[in-house]
Amino acid sequence: MDPISDAQTLAPDGDQSKRPKRPRAVPGRFGSYGGRYVPETLMAALQELEASYAKARKDKSFRDEYHRLLADFAGRPTPLFLAERLTQQLGGAKIYLKREDLLHTGAHKINNCIGQALLARRMGKHRIIAETGAGQHGVATATVCALFGMECVVYMGTEDMRRQELNVFRMRLLGAEVRGVESGSRTLKDAINEAMRDWVTNVRTTHYLLGSVLGAHPYPTMVRDFHRVIGQEARKQILKAEGRLPSAIIACVGGGSNAIGIFHAFLKDREVKLIGVEAGGRGHVLGEHAARFDGGGAGVLQGTYSYVLQDEAGQIANTHSVSAGLDYPAIGPEHAWLHDQGRAEYVSASDQEALDACQTLARMEGIIPALESAHAVAEVMKRAPRMEKSDVVIVNISGRGDKDIGILRENLKF
């Protein structure tokens, strides 16, 4: 099964049946969510991107190139690893880890970057811009730009540049220009604003390589497709290892690209619980967390209609998470739809729980997960002991923790 040519989805484009008081839909709807809310200047570019992608995904040479690079450059497939000591310690469900952290550049983000860079090349756009929070998407973008000889500009909030210093250096080493963003909370949301301002200015020559299942159509669909390979591999691997489907899959959710990537191959398997873990931050007060399903409401941010953390006047709230990659006030529109349908369940883990989980996984399994992924580990630590020994859980380790060493040092004193 090919991740980008096979359109298995529970959210057919244009399903408008349950839309409350929304304007009429264009393609790219997940129930009532998604859409394309951008200034007119970008509309033609989004339509061009949509058409180019629709054509590319049907083109065998595009798919072959994408798969070749996933295998030879990024290092796919990634292993599915049985975490024996963690399983034993928690005393419940059998825990498997999907090792996206082993990919080139250290996270799942490279899957999407390879796909979009190939697409940009087909469209004749040789200047690439991107936003980054934790820096993983920025590094992956800088990497593919180096590979393809493209100009690369990455926008990053200065607060994130501070906490992800190492990734800033990596991007520069790869030849990318990193532009600090001083506005707002100086994190991911502000970096996206600035990238959109660049795109609206240079749209004729520039491709915006958006890093998550966010933004205007076709991004949430296209980015998901480029990550569906995660779930397709995991499904095959677990069937081989256990002869059965897992009881649950757990993944962290910022914008939600790694989660949608691993969820998608299991959407039709109703017996498989899909669990997304948001950043609980420091507490439940607005501004102290990034749990969109815990206090967020439907709204439009940066091109898409989804759950958004905002005040009653519709101004977007500040967010907090120890992990820069989850520190964002909106969630991908397909997650909003999966949430409302009850197909996926969304929970949160606090900063402290994530830090503890990171340390636990490091010491029990010899794997230091990214702080983002540590949120998923925190959830399996709560959930596995309550499950049967016959249950099987897959946790998506979306990235590795090397980039977080500075933050871990600040927070874990030994």
Binding site: P39, E40, T41, K189
Partner: protein, 259 residues
């Protein structure tokens, strides 16, 4: 709901609530006094992706002391009590969505504004908005961009009322040294699809640009230059904007009263 443009035409944008709503009202009245045919009352938003640094800063200041959509509608009402000039609510979508689309249109009508322009609402997504605007006899103004295909321009023209706002160049709001060559050809392309007045904006800040735009369009939109004038003249915002606009339109010597 017909909006009247004089020759040369002037549309003035202000970020409401910067430095406060009372001063924004006075700035609007001063702009009308100086000849503005239409005032765009900008609703500040936390994430203004289409705006440059000047309007970003003004929005931040306005939000800091809690400016919101009801407050903007309130000054619209006060301005309407004193003038017949065109009044347009200029906003990003989310503040309107949270207020309620239908409730917004009813309130806008009640404040007797002429219409609205929603920056991040392209025609494709505007179905229910258009319906509500029609019910309340409000003019939806849409943006046309140099990158818009002819097919898109036709849709923009078909759904716009009052006037069409043509963006002079790709990019964000803010003043520029020179007008892009994009503007003239965009207006020419648009004329094929509409008889509505066409206002050209993004980057207009000098008397030369103002008169140049008015040779091929029905009005020039001035935004960031006004917002910057407000920023730089604390305590005498309205007076400074009035003077700036008189100079811009080339009527500084002759006129004491505008449209």
């Amino acid at each position: 709901m017909a909006i009247k443009f004089h020759k040369p035409g002037l549309v003035a944008y202000i970020t409401c609530g910067d430095p406060d709503l009372g001063i924004s009202r006075d700035v609007a009245l001063a702009a009308i006094q100086a000849g503005a045919d239409v005032i765009e009352l900008g609703v500040p938003f936390s994430d203004p992706v289409a705006d440059g640094p000047v309007i970003q800063r003004a929005s931040e200041r306005a939000l800091k002391h809690g400016t919101n959509l009801p407050g903007v509608l309130d000054i619209a009402k006060q301005i309407r009590a004193q003038t017949k000039a065109g009044l347009i609510i200029f906003s990003y979508l989310n503040p309107i969505l949270q207020f309620g689309l239908e409730k917004f249109c009813a309130a806008a009508k009640e404040a007797r504004v002429d219409g609205a322009l929603v920056t991040d609402l392209p025609v494709e997504e505007a179905g229910e908005y258009l319906k509500a605007m029609k019910v309340h006899k409000l003019a939806p103004v849409f943006l046309a961009a140099p990158t818009s295909t002819d097919e898109r321009l036709r849709d923009v023209a078909r759904h716009s009322r009052g006037f069409v706002y043509a963006i002079s160049r790709t990019g964000i709001t803010g003043t520029r040294q020179e007008l892009a060559g994009d503007a003239r050809s965009l207006v020419e392309r648009l004329r094929a699809f509409t008889k509505l007045p066409i206002a050209v904006g993004f980057g207009v800040s000098t008397p030369q640009q103002f008169s140049e735009v008015n040779t091929f369009a029905d009005a020039a939109v001035v935004g960031s230059a006004i917002v910057q004038t407000v920023e730089q003249n604390p305590g005498r915002e309205a007076e400074a904007v009035g003077q700036f606009l008189l100079k811009l339109t080339g009527t500084a010597q002759t006129a004491t009263a505008g449209g």
